[in-house]
Structures are given as C-alpha cells and as structure tokens.
C-alpha cells in the first residue's frame, strides 16, 4: 500500500511540471498568510479584480517574451535582444500616436501597432540572418541588437520619454475586454497560437531536432536555416507585442528603461519551465508556469513587505532555491546523503562476515 503510494508519488514528481507548479502554489499560499483575501476574485465595475488576476496581467509581457524565447532556446540559441525590441516597439508606436492630431483615432493606433510589429519582424529577421545566414553565435549575434537596439529606441524617442493619451492604445496593456484584462487575452492567444503552430504542425519536432543535433538534422534533410530564422522572427514578434503592452500600460515610451533586463527574466522563466539551455525538448506550458512564478515572486516581495533595497537579493535567493529543487542531480545528492552511509555500512558489515572465517 505504502509502496504503491510512494510509487505514485515518484511518478508524479518525475513529471516535468511538478516542481515549478508546486513552487508556484507554495508561493501563492505564502501570500495568503499576509493577505487573507489574496485568492479573492471579484467583478468590480465590470472588470475582473483580484491579486491573482494582477499577477497574470502584469506577467503578460513576460509570458510573451518568454514564449518566443522558448522556441529560440529549443534550437540551442538565445535571444538577448528582446528587451531592446520591447523598447523599440513601444517607442515607435508611441511616437506615431503622439504625432497624430487625434490620438484616440483607432486607425492611427492600428497603424502604430502595425508599424511597431512590422519593425519587430524586421529585427527578428536581422537576428535570424546573423545566426542562420552568417553563422554567428546566437549570444553574440543578439548582443549586437541588445546594445544597438537601446540606442535605436533612444533615437526614436529623441532621448525623451514620450507620453501619449490614447484610449484605444491604452486597451492593449491596461484595458479590459468582456471583463477580462486585454493583455491576458493577448497572452492567452499568443500561447494558443504557439502551441498550435508547434504541436499541430511538425514545426515543434523539427525545432527540437535542430536544437538536439544540428548536423544530424541537416543530414536528415531539414532546412534548419529556415527554421532558425522563423524562431528568431517569432521571438522578436512576441517581444514587440510585449513592448506594446508595457508602453500602453503606462501610456508612455521610455527608450532607456522599458523592458530592461526582461531577457534575463524570460530566460529564467524558460529554464524554470523545464526547457534546457542545451536545446532540444521544449515545453510551452512550462514556460508559462515559469513566467507566472517569476511574476508571483515579484508580487510576493511587495505583499510580504521585503525592504526595497533587498528585493533583488531576495529574488535571487528564491530563484536559486527553485532551480536547485528542480535539479534531479541536486535532489539525488540530498536524498543520497541521507541514505548512502547506511548502504556503505552494510557493505562493510558483509565483508567483515566473509573475511572472518
């Protein structure tokens, strides 16, 4: 009975998403201690309200960026330029809108969105070209745009913070649709699209194949260049949407600080979600959980009241613990340390018995 129970438990803990989900739940429960109505979700003024909703809403840009990052990492690449793309797209959209006579014109906002996302696609193509066409190492190739992109964003905003006042644009990151925050719907849609694109077609398998063994994939006839370009374009597109969300939420574009360090959070979310930096197998579901976990952690830091000067340290600590708990090697070590000595003692006992006669 107990044996079968522990058998079930071990089957459960071997599941890829077990640990991230568990830690996410623990984190949320911890909030309950400090905020008794943490889990309360209500409809106020026709809008969904509640701490959980906020976590998803504020986490939406990170989910978007991490989503694209997942596919890039699955090809054994990395994209450091997403933070800059966030800034560039936000800046371009806000610049366009601020130049309109009527900032509330839907057509103007749609043009701004179209321009920004179009630019994101071009930037993604650039990354893909450097990695797949030129054969540059992904970390270097995207570092170029990471650095140059910040400059580009500042060029667009002319070094200023562009502030706008546009109701239609506000919808993207700060609005509601059918009581649900619009950014959540956008993120959900993007996740659904990514899942459909990778798992309903053969794209997911081909990505995993290219990331798992690039040379073998080439010799199996896979056009790996095209696939690599596709994932960088998709990643930049996702980052572009995140840039729109972020600038829309604050109704302004800050070339310097928008999306700063988001690439690191995104990489972290991907890794927590169980996708290996060495490429190959990826899990979109895992990435979403990872992004939510990081956002929940930020929220927790505020609700628990960690002093602001120690928040980064606190975050680092939790992330370290999460990664350690997730590592099978680490768990095995901790587990063995408790078991090994007895096994060794038993072995010693046995030798003694045999040597005795």
């Amino acid at each position: 009975m107990t044996a079968s129970l522990s058998g079930h438990m071990s089957a459960l803990t071997r599941r890829r998403l077990f640990w991230p989900v568990t830690i996410l739940i623990v984190l949320l429960l911890a909030n309950l201690l400090f905020t008794p109505d943490f889990f309360k979700i209500e409809i106020r003024g026709g809008h969904l309200y509640g701490s959980l909703i906020d976590i998803v809403r504020f986490g939406a840009p990170l989910i978007m960026v991490a989503l694209g990052m997942t596919l890039v990492i699955a090809t054994r690449g990395i994209d450091l330029s997403v933070g800059s793309i966030v800034a560039i797209c936000g800046a371009l959209a806000c610049l366009w809108i601020s130049g309109q006579d009527d900032q509330n014109s839907v057509a103007g906002v749609l043009t701004a969105v179209g321009l920004a996302l179009g630019l994101a696609l071009v930037l993604g193509l650039w990354n893909g070209f450097l990695v797949a066409g030129v054969g540059m190492q992904p970390i270097i190739a995207t570092l170029i745009l990471m650095v140059a992109g910040r400059g580009l964003a500042q060029l667009i905003t002319d070094g200023q913070i562009i502030t706008i006042n546009s109701t239609p644009y506000k919808l993207i990151g700060g609005g509601y649709w059918l009581t649900v925050p619009f950014s959540i719907l956008l993120a959900l849609g993007a996740v659904a699209l990514a899942v459909a694109l990778t798992r309903r077609t053969a794209l997911g398998m081909l990505i995993e194949s290219v990331g798992g063994n690039a040379e073998a994939s080439r010799l199996a006839g896979i056009g790996s260049r095209r696939i690599i370009v596709m994932v960088y374009v998709f990643c930049a597109f996702c980052a572009g949407i995140a840039g729109l969300m972020i600038s829309s939420n604050v109704s302004s574009a800050d070339g310097n600080n928008a999306g700063l360090w988001i690439e690191l959070d995104a990489i972290l979310a991907v890794v927590i979600g169980g996708t290996s930096l060495a490429g190959g197998r990826f899990s979109i579901g895992g990435t979403v959980v990872g992004a939510l976990l990081i956002q929940a952690l930020s929220t927790t830091i505020y609700t628990v009241g960690v002093p602001p000067e120690t928040t980064l340290l606190f975050k680092a600590l939790v992330v370290t613990v999460v990664c350690l708990i997730q590592s099978p090697a680490f768990r095995a070590k901790v587990f063995q340390r408790r078991r090994r000595p007895s096994a060794r003692a038993a072995a010693r006992e046995k030798t003694k018995v045999e040597v005795a006669p």
Binding site: R200, T201, A202, L203, M205, L206, E208, S209, G212, N213, E215, A216, S217, R218, L219, A220, G221, I222, G223, I227, G280, R281, A343, R344, A347, R348, K350, T351, E354
Partner: protein, 507 residues
Amino acid sequence: MAEPAAILAMTGITKEFPGVKALSDVDFRLFPGEVHALMGENGAGKSTLIKALTGVYDIDGGEILLEGEAVRFTGPLQAQQAGVSTVYQEINLCPNLSVAENIFIGREPRRLGAIQWKKIHRRATELLRRLRLDIDASALLGTYSIAVQQMVAIARAIDISAKVLIFDEPTSSLDAKECEQLFRVMRQLKDEGIAILFVTHFLDQVYEVTDRVTVLRNGRLVGERLTAELAQIDLVAMMIGKELEVLEQLDEQPKSSPAALQDASPVVAASELGRDGAVAPFNLAIHRGEVVGLAGLLGSGRTEVARLLFGADRADHGQIRVDGTTVAVRNPRTAMAHGIAFCSENRRTEGLVEDLTVRENIILALQAERGWSRPIPRRRQEELVDKYIKALRITPANPDMVVRNLSGGNQQKVLLARWLITEPRLLILDEPTRGIDVGAKAEIQRLVVSLADGGMAVLFISAELEEVLRLSHKIAVLRDRHLVTEMPNDGVDVEHVMRIIASGAAV
C-alpha cells in the same frame, strides 16, 4: 592446477531499468595478466555490466570484489582511483590540449601550487616510450589519429595505476595496422600483470589477443571459456543462439550483377565528381537492384565519396546524373528529392537526434521532405513506425522510447528505418554494421540483399572486406583518396582486394 586469485570477481549482478531487466544474476571474473573478451549481441548487457562495475549505474543486486574486497564505486572517477580504468570507443580526452596535458589533466604534479610542466613532459615522454609510441608529447592531441588518441588514453589510464583496464570496443574505428599496434600494447600490459577486459565484436580479434571469453545474452551469462579451447563456430553459437544459420545462408547469395542490370542506365552516376582535399575526381555508376561495395582503408576517401553523392559536402568538380539526367545536388535536401538516402557512419553525431523518441527519429527525414507545415498524421506515423519496428526487429519495440537509451544495433536500425520509409532509389550505407553484434549484423546484411532484390540501388561501405565481398555485385576500391578501380564481384577474394589496396593499382 589451482587458479590464481581473481583480481576482480562480480557475482550475481542484477540491474533493472524501468520495464527491462538489463542484467540478471551475471557472474564475471578477471585474472591478473589476462585479456578477457566480453562478448554478446547488442542489448546483451555488456555495456551495462561495465557501467555497473565502474559505478555509472547503481546495481540492484550482487557483489563486486576487487582484490578480495567488496566495492561499490560511485562513479568512473572513484573506480579509476581504485585501479579500474576504462578506455572508451569514443575518446573522452581534450583534442585542444597537448598529449602530455591530456595524460596528466586533473592530477598535475605541483610544487607550491604551480604546475611542474617540465616534469609533466618528462613523465609523459617516458610513458609514451614505454608503450613504444613515437609521438611528440607537446603536440596537440587533436593532430593525431583516433588510434593514437586511444593510445594516449591508455597511457593515461596505466599511469593512474590501473590494475584493471576496460577496453570498450576500442577497435571499431581502427584499421588493421592500428589494431595490430593496439594489440601489441595490450599484450605488453598483460605481461606486466594488468587484467584487461576487452569488449569487441570482431571474432578474429578475440582469437588473436584474448585468453578467455565471457559471453552474455539478453542480460544473462551464457558461459565463460578459455579462448584456446573454444571453436569459433561455438563462440558464435553462444552469442546468437539459434540464429546461426542466417550467416550461412547469406554466403549463398549470387555475387555478380545480372547482366540485364548493366544495360539499363544507372540510377545514379557520378562522373569526374570530386572535392579538393577530400577525394580526387571519380566515376561511379550504381544500377537498379545493384549493391556496389566501397572497399578501402580508413581515410581512403570512402566516406567522402558517400558525402559527395548525398550533397553533405559540396563537390568542386564533376557532376551527378540521376536516370541519365544531370542534376544539381547542392545539399542533402536536393539529394533526397532525387531519391538518394544516406546513413552516416557516425550514427550518434550525424545520424540520430538522441533526445527524440524512436518514432520521431524514424519519421524525421520523411517529415523534412514534406516540410513543417504538412505534418504526417499521427495514425500514419504510428503505422509506419510500427511496420519498421517489426520489420527490422527493433527492441524494445517501444516507439516512445528515447533513442539515447537504445543499444548501438537498435540505434542503427532506427536510422535505417528513417531512410527506408522515404523509399529511396539509392541507399548509401556507410559502415552500417560497425560496432554492432553478429546477430544485428546478419540482419542488416540480409536486409541489404533483400532491398537490392526489390530493386533498390545500394552503395555499401564497410571496413570489413569480407562483408563487402559477400554483399556486393560490384566493388570499387579506394586508396589515398583515389578511386583505384571498379570491378564486378565474380570470384574476387579478400586477398585480391587487399593487393589492390596495397599496390594502389588494379591487378
């Protein structure tokens, strides 16, 4: 006569993996000063036994005695410190470091924290001289051949004071001369009292160098014999049980192409095809239903010929004609579009994606042909994969198993299946039977014969001349990156081909 005490005694070793008993109740012993062959088919448990010994795996039952003391190593490092070292088929040294550095890496002699480079070089040179290896200890390891690198690995192992040396298929990528060199070193080490466990698939080598043989089959011990008292046929019988007749049947295959085949235009013909630094321009025609064997030593350009035909490397000269029409083969994709398939000799680095499942690996090339947007329907995938798992007898017959966990022979079959489902017109097999056991080897050879009977053109590359001669209708001989001659396989014997290779001219 009383036997000397065994230096290593493994008794009742049992190891289970989820769903499969890899070893059950296996005994194995090793005496000082002997070379002991460990033999068996793929999946017989040879690797598992070695990994159980060196602590890569925790065993579920049994006992390991090293010099009479019970041991349970936590990993290869600890095993090595206790005197049990392994030399692998794939060299695990650093090609970008010098020979001497590789020998002493991780245990450099130091004085006051500083590495004593002079001492390292002196000791390395002494060690290499002791093994009668004429190489420069300060040169980069990567500049030497695999065979020499292997010797360096051995030098490293014996310097760490090995009592037991495990050779895990060291000869599968060596040519005859290099093997001879390795055997000389093995005999020397044996005379020094070191116990050597030798895993190989080559029967000749067993008889050439070993004193004792232990055979495993399906994770069980079949028996331990003195090599001198064991007839070859009995050894094969121990390894593959009742499948022996398969090998005998194969010998009766017709050898020369039916005349009719030669008249039709070839499926694939290369004219003056070549690549600078890889292989000199050559002509080669392969007809429908014909098996063309490529013979030659390692480095003679065998693989390069295959890679040019498949577009894995781009040709500098000449052209390829498919059904008489000149086609541009720029990359593997275009080669595949013309019905050419290629199983690389390096199945793990250039063939399989080890983290993907058997099913995914099998459908990979077909899916690549269709493009990402037209996935093969799941049910069709399962039908195809099931069919080939059965036809090629891939074990375990689990399409969702990760390929990394399969034995070498089964991995090879997965790779074969990948190309067979694309229904190629020319199948290029580069060393398809390397590093796999007699049983799987016979199955693959039989498959080649039946594919050709079904009309497929096959280019068969193997380091084993006998195998090439047994299967091919036509033989092309390579030497020093030149295609020397091409001849029908009627009454050609091994010696004849060897003379051509040796002299570099048709005789």
